[in-house]
Symmetry: C2
């Protein structure tokens, strides 16, 4: 065993995808990957400078050819190993040439330069090879259900069942290691640079009002249940009341939504709360956090991030999480349309929120899909089912209003719409169609962060629009300019909530909280008509000198998946659940015996069909 | 709002207990506690070097006297604030002198030297005071259920109910901040120095064999339950099979033990696993980890830690977690006793494990409790109920055997004992008695780490001693020297398990794991007679080239509580549960409606008495 301090070399975390010849990620630091073990080096580390050294490597057999050489793989890379051909080492040859692919071996040998012309410039260790002297098969591998390198092509169910094999892939190794690195950098920023305290909060708590999506955990007291919270919201506010001043936690959260694509029943958020802070303070903190922890191999992010109000986002993009990597904004052409004198258009405009809106799709004519729209033809005319209603002058006016170019296509929508969500969806679908036709609108290497602010504090309930519910949660503070409206017209009150959007996905959200007990009670009881008893501990706490405070939570799984360009958050989680919430490797959830339920005073109510089946 | 980079001063995290005049903890670093907020300084920071500066502080009113001055407190310390007495600022005086204690205020003013003779050398800010110009009461505090400084004297139930007030105490601020610091240092050591990857593993999994203490979480599939695991054991081993090489996680774990003093239903462990490592490697890693993260204000730990076998620990200390801060080892005096020819002693010795053992309690005569024992009188004789059986020569022999000094007391035990747990308990109780009588045996400022190794792999089941169960868990590898015994006499097999003991408390445990599928199957099916089907995913995984691996888990709550000298782990957890597993602040667990249980296909089976009560 070697002392760790003596071997603190400068290493590189270089994960090489040999098949694509791409180096995915490098970070230079004083990191010793071989401390406390008997290897001298990792499989990604040897260079021509090591020639002549006797080394011991551990790894998996990636490939073996005719008893002549093999490629050994570990988390850091690949090394070519030359199998000895002399009689004296025939047992080593026998051992290594008969070991199945993916067996795990130890080899000891001498680093040599590859013969001239046989170097592999695509491989970081491509200048050298290791001439084996001794070897040991530490564990043999039985026949694989597939080859590791082809894994990505296999069905996701198969990959989830054999997750421990999928984890050996370069892509998952990269994703998980990058995730670890980013979180570590975030911790350094928060903890070491800005005095935040990492505080763990309970996950066995109780139902929050409206917490219909919370998992229940039966306790040993009959009829009483814990609940797995969706976030540490209450606890982080109580920590501020407790004078912790600056809190963060990489917090496990739970949400039972049944089957939802690309959602996980348990997920992780970077959870932050500060005392004496305003919206601007939180936003600058988060910008600094992301800039500090941003991976070196990604195009950098610039700060401050642009900001947009909720109203602007809906008006211009038809969504509260606009993808600002491309234009195609929604344009209100109600005035223009009014003047056209077309009956059905004017009819649509006569309603309370009646408008005519349009998006202009640059180069839209590359896709055949946009047939029933207004197209700007090379001859300078517009072509559309609507054209017959448009005079020459009106055509020019529309072209100017929408800044149309030749080959552009315009989509129009008329009706009673306030939020333009239909055009917002059309905008994204149009982008998909254009990209399918070969145009690049959204470069995956580009990162557009955006703050969306000034959300409404309350929204009409979907099932009963005469009642109000919190747009986010009942602890969100009203916008200072709108406080008086709270008592007269709560629907008009804007909140101090802010969302962080990255490339059209919501990656975070937070708010300045209510710190005044009276205001909090008014919101809960008078506006939301909720029973405040269940929150009495929080209301009490606000009365004991609660400081003004605010915070934010970043969705870590989503953020990392966007950074690495993963299709799904499942690709940045070591052991994800299927979209039905199942662990396909370990087969969870699973049946338990009635005996095991007894201490918790519960029994299963079998659905009729299943109960019948059990009887027969 | 100030740019954070421009204010990265060198600050001190100095938590001062003014009442005791003790500075508890300091760490010097580039840490900006005032970034992103409007304060210029914290309340612990101002010194004579700041005199003349205009500052803005936020904090709680700790104390206010006659409208003349007040003491403002935040997480970092206390500052004396001089209330203006001039007419022009009478509103400021009015505001500050009428605000109740524990109200939260902003003050802006100028730093001045205190008048000569009025400095307070016990207070880090004791050279200065702040002459207030403007002030604002941000939130008023209603009458407290107790004073913060007296809180420690209040009942624990009251403190738990008002946990957010208890958190304002210097002691809890210190404990939680130190915990955060230590964990951060551990992360730096593991992640940045030794290439460990922080991987999050699921907490919604399924029952493990023998997992009778696992909480259940009902799923939306009738009759199927998740389980909250007691540790990430299976996942960390699967990560090694997946080639992650070095894993760690600050892992939330769950254990439902009903009511147990000083246990929590959820707790945290530093969870570690490495590939290609042996016992020695893990031990050196952990020694380095603890040394690196050890707080500066505690007496340092020296490495390597001493090591002791399980057999030695039981023989010498009567426990597998010896407190080695003091002597009083158990001595086997069977041979000597045999020669005494006392009938009942010889009778005891005639049984298979019959022994006579003794501990010598130095200065034991300071306590009256040890009446019925052998005492070494100042006149050189022994005094005991046994003395009549001992001749002069035998007395001398016993004095020599046990190295007795005048005033020492010897406790004897004769019987069929292999583990000496009775004498082990007596040893600790004797230490309590001696300390109660004024002797210091166990200096709380001294830290004795100890490895205990060579545990048995299996133990007879308590309820059926003819069957075996794992001494720790079924994945523990046998000692290499004992592998063949596995097939002939499994009770004699030692394991590659190791425990880490600190001052007589177990603070960690781990092992080298079985990486061979065949051996793992043999242990599960043939030795433990368990159904291996439920672990089929792990057995499968071992067949696909699993590397040799091992790991450890440190109990973070216990470790931190020992470091800070807390009476209970509840003092190092922000929101602990009571010993009945209840959250006394938020009232969890709580009743839920039958409607809320419906999606989970469960119903409550009310105990008869409660069901009757509900009917009436």
């Amino acid at each position: 065993m070697k002392a760790p301090s003596s071997r603190a070399y400068s290493f590189r975390l270089a994960l090489e995808n040999l098949y694509r010849g791409v180096t995915l990620y490098r970070v230079h630091c004083l990191r010793n990957f071989s401390s406390f073990v008997a290897r001298t080096n990792t499989c990604g580390e040897l260079r021509s400078a090591h020639v002549g050294q006797k080394v011991t490597l551990y790894g998996w057999i990636q490939y073996q050819r005719q008893g002549l050489f093999l490629v050994l793989r570990d988390f850091q890379g690949l090394t070519q190993i030359i199998i000895p051909q002399d009689e004296a080492r025939s047992h080593v040859k026998e051992l290594l040439s008969s070991a199945p692919v993916e067996s795990v071996v130890r080899v000891t040998g001498v680093v040599s330069l590859r013969p001239p012309g046989q170097e592999n410039p695509k491989m970081p260790t491509g200048d050298i090879e290791v001439k084996v002297e001794t070897a040991e098969v530490l564990n043999s591998c039985k026949k694989l259900p597939f080859e590791i390198k082809d894994f990505i092509k296999k069905s996701e169910a198969l990959r989830m069942q054999y997750r421990y094999l999928d984890l050996r892939s370069f892509q998952l190794q990269y994703n998980l290691r990058l995730r670890s690195q980013i979180v570590m950098r975030m911790r350094e920023y928060l903890c070491n640079l800005h005095g935040f305290v990492d505080v763990e909060t309970p996950t066995l708590f109780k139902r929050t009002p409206g917490g219909a999506k919370e998992f229940l955990v039966p306790s040993r007291e009959a009829g009483k249940f814990y609940s797995l919270p969706q976030s540490p919201q209450q606890f982080k506010q109580l920590l501020m009341v407790g004078g912790l001043d600056r809190y963060f936690q990489v917090a496990r959260c739970y949400r039972d939504e049944g089957s939802r694509p690309d959602r996980q029943p348990e997920f992780t958020q970077i959870d932050i709360e500060m005392s004496f802070v305003d919206q601007n303070g939180i936003q600058r903190l988060i910008e600094g956090l992301l800039q500090y922890s941003w991976p070196e191999d990604r195009s950098p992010v610039t700060t401050p991030f642009p900001s947009m109000t909720y109203e602007e986002a809906l008006a211009d993009y038809g969504t509260d999480k606009p993808d600002t990597r491309f234009g195609m904004k929604i344009v209100d052409i109600s005035d223009f349309s009014q003047r056209l004198g077309i009956h059905f258009v004017q009819n649509a405009l006569s309603y309370p929120h009646g408008t005519v809106k349009a998006i202009c799709i640059p180069q839209g004519m590359v896709s055949d899909i946009f047939t029933y729209s207004v197209r700007f033809m090379p001859d300078g005319s517009l072509k559309s089912l609507l054209t017959k209603f448009l005079g020459q002058e009106q055509q020019s006016e529309l072209i100017q209003e929408l800044k149309m170019q030749v080959d552009d296509v315009v989509l129009l929508a008329a009706g009673e719409h306030k939020r333009c969500s239909a055009l917002g969806s059309l905008r994204l679908e149009s982008a998909d169609l254009l990209e399918a036709a070969g145009l690049v609108l959204r470069d995956p290497a580009v990162f557009h962060f955006l703050w969306v602010v000034d959300f409404p504090l309350f929204l009409p309930k979907e099932d009963n629009p005469t009642e109000l519910e919190s747009a986010h949660h009942p602890f969100t503070a009203p916008h200072p300019s709108d406080t008086s409206l709270l008592y007269s017209d709560p629907t008009k009150v804007r909140s101090q909530h802010y969302d962080l959007v990255l490339n059209g996905s919501e990656v975070g959200g937070g708010s300045i909280r209510i710190h005044n007990a009276e205001l909090q009670r008014f919101v809960l009881e008078k506006v939301l008509k909720e029973d405040s008893e269940v929150l009495s501990h929080l209301l009490d706490a606000l009365e004991f000198g609660a400081p003004p405070h605010g915070g934010i939570a970043l969705g870590l799984d989503r953020l990392i998946s966007l950074i690495v360009g993963a299709q799904s958050i499942r690709d940045v989680i070591a052991f994800p659940k299927s979209f039905r919430g199942r662990d396909l490797m370990g087969n969870a959830p699973d049946y338990v015996t009635a005996e095991e339920l007894e201490p918790y005073h519960i029994q299963v109510s079998w659905p009729v069909a299943e109960a019948e089946a059990k009887k027969n």
